[in-house]
Amino acid sequence: MESVFLSPESWTAVFLSLRVSLVATLLSLPLAIWVAHLLARGRFRGKQVLNALVHLPLVLPPVVTGYLLLLTYGRRAPIGQFLEHSFGFVLAFRWTGAALAAAVMAFPLMVRAIRIAIETVDPKLEEAAATLGASRWFTFRHVTLPLIFPGVIAGSVLGWAKAMGEFGATITFVSNIPGQTQTVPSAIYAALQVPGRESEVLKLVLISVVLAVGALLVSEWLVRRRRKKVDAA
């Protein structure tokens, strides 16, 4: 008789995926907001280069992204070695590397969502803040950021969902080490390679869906709660 519950390894994969995706999203969020702001409001040379760079992981096959990560953050790779020797911080074959891969893949989605939100904030409000003596940073912190809150939430959910589903770059960069780097998509992939493990696949898919729907509902609720107060004035 087959258990209706997940196997212990599958549970491990679920928790790991959650950890990886949350760390990936939360840690890259400030950077995403900053880059989105640069792209939306900044005027500097190389803006389009930055823009292109941010979008790259979207346009490249994930395997290539994973391979490029390996070439830069691997143990033999320049940045990877530097991190390891200077801070003892290893990315390769660790969950931290999975988080990096997920973050890189999710980054363009987060940046775009937040950028669109920033672009629709009326610059007149930012002007008003300036007349009240607010520095750029103060204005951003207290005027722009609260106004783009829905976009930040949307970007985070989008990025998180992508991070949960990311497979190709992750397995290429950090492989599939149960308990270390075996995320739910890796587990699903493995189960799909062997005939007759469809029920395992189904359970993992279901749990992904439940988690995603839960996150979506929470995000919608967060935004609605906020909007109730604020609304377009």
Binding site: A128, A129, T131, L132, G133, A134, H142, V230, A232
Partner: protein, 364 residues
């Protein structure tokens, strides 16, 4: 503090070219819709970059085209009340009001703070978000926000346009106090002649970007050439006077350079200086001193100038001592009384015709 503005800039439709100095007190910028008033204020604020010229506040240069100086908005220490309120929709009224304090790291001046809330009647709104405010309420909060930012220059762009009469009457004395008891240059855009008459020390008249007149309010408002820009109804001279006595029945007797007048408002302190606006249409002319009339104010004057206007009316400039008054009468009356320049005449004013809002206080 003196704010010097000397700029030119190309706009859609015409060029803007202004050059004036605003001392402490109120400099009203007056002109038709689209004349360029907001653009002038925006240039001072740093929100519009003029093509040429300079803007300085005492020794601080805000803008100098030839030296490439353009101080960032946030460093100019202005309080700006926008034509559109521009409240932050994500903050409550209270948070909007304390924004500048937080942004500039100012000390709270509790007394000033509550005085502003009181005068603007916004204390009951503190917990609300801008979206829950009426148009006038938003505007009042915007005024409060600017006043509480401890600015060195105050820029007011039609601050009272969306407010009712009663509310204006409450706010005006506060602006007067600000004018008289602070060192602030205040640029004030308004379409209301009565507001300008009451508040302004100086008037800048704009017409399609051209600066037509600049001068003390008393001069501009008694000028026959400026008349066409001020609108027939509201047009009239501004006088300064000193309180002489407060009578038991509430009538206040004041002394202007041209003579003695009775004002139906209790002004407690004797010797206080007040300003009066006397509308051209509220001044009747009489060849002899009239009797048995409810009008208590009769000033002996000499006709200084006469200008025929459209619609068969005549604008008469009167010299009453050193003061100038304007009187608008019909062509028919003029013929009837046979008025000529240089003729002595009596100006008859009803006490109450010195409109309440036209009686302003003036420190000095």
């Amino acid at each position: 503090m003196t704010l010097n503005v000397a700029i030119t800039t190309v706009l859609k439709g015409f060029d803007l070219d202004v050059n004036f100095a605003a001392e402490r007190g109120v400099t009203a910028i007056f002109g038709a819709s689209g004349a360029g008033k907001t653009t002038v204020i925006n240039a001072v604020a740093g929100l519009h970059r003029p093509d040429q010229g300079t803007i300085t506040l005492d020794n601080d240069t805000f803008f100098a085209a030839d030296r490439g100086i353009n101080v960032p908005v946030a460093d100019r220490r202005l309080g700006y009340v926008f034509q559109d309120h521009r409240l932050f929709p994500n903050m409550t009224v209270a948070q909007n009001l304390s924004f500048a304090k937080k942004a500039r790291g100012l000390r709270q001046d509790g007394q000033h703070h509550s005085a502003v809330l009181e005068i603007l009647g916004i204390a009951p709104l503190l917990g609300r978000y801008p979206t829950d405010l009426s148009g006038g309420e938003k505007q009042r909060v915007a005024i409060g926000r600017a006043l509480l930012s401890q600015p060195k220059v105050l820029l007011l762009d039609e601050p009272l346009a969306s407010l009712d009469h009663a509310r204006r009457l409450e706010i005006l004395p506060y602006l007067e106090r600000l004018r008289d008891h602070s060192d602030l240059p205040i640029l004030y855009v308004s379409h209301s002649v009565s507001e300008v008459a009451r508040l302004a020390n100086q008037v800048v008249l704009l017409d399609r970007g051209r600066q037509i007149q600049v001068g003390p309010v008393t001069e501009v408002f008694s000028d026959l050439d400026a008349a066409q820009f001020l609108g027939r109804d509201d047009h009239g001279a501004v006088l300064f006077a000193k309180v002489v006595a407060t009578h038991a029945d509430g009538v206040t007797e004041v002394q202007s350079s041209g003579g003695r007048l009775f004002v139906n408002q209790t002004v407690s302190s004797a010797n206080k200086r007040i300003r009066l606006r006397i509308r051209a249409q509220d001044v009747m002319l009489s060849l002899s001193r009239p009797e048995g009339l409810s009008a208590l104010n009769v000033l002996p004057c000499v006709i200084a100038d006469i200008r025929s206007e459209a619609k068969n009316s005549v604008l008469v400039q009167l010299a009453c001592g050193p003061d100038r008054l304007l009187s608008r009468i019909t062509e028919r009356s003029r013929q009837h009384l046979n008025l000529q320049i240089g003729m002595p005449i009596f100006a008859v004013l009803k006490t109450v015709s010195m409109a309440q809002e036209a009686i302003g206080f003036q420190a000095g």
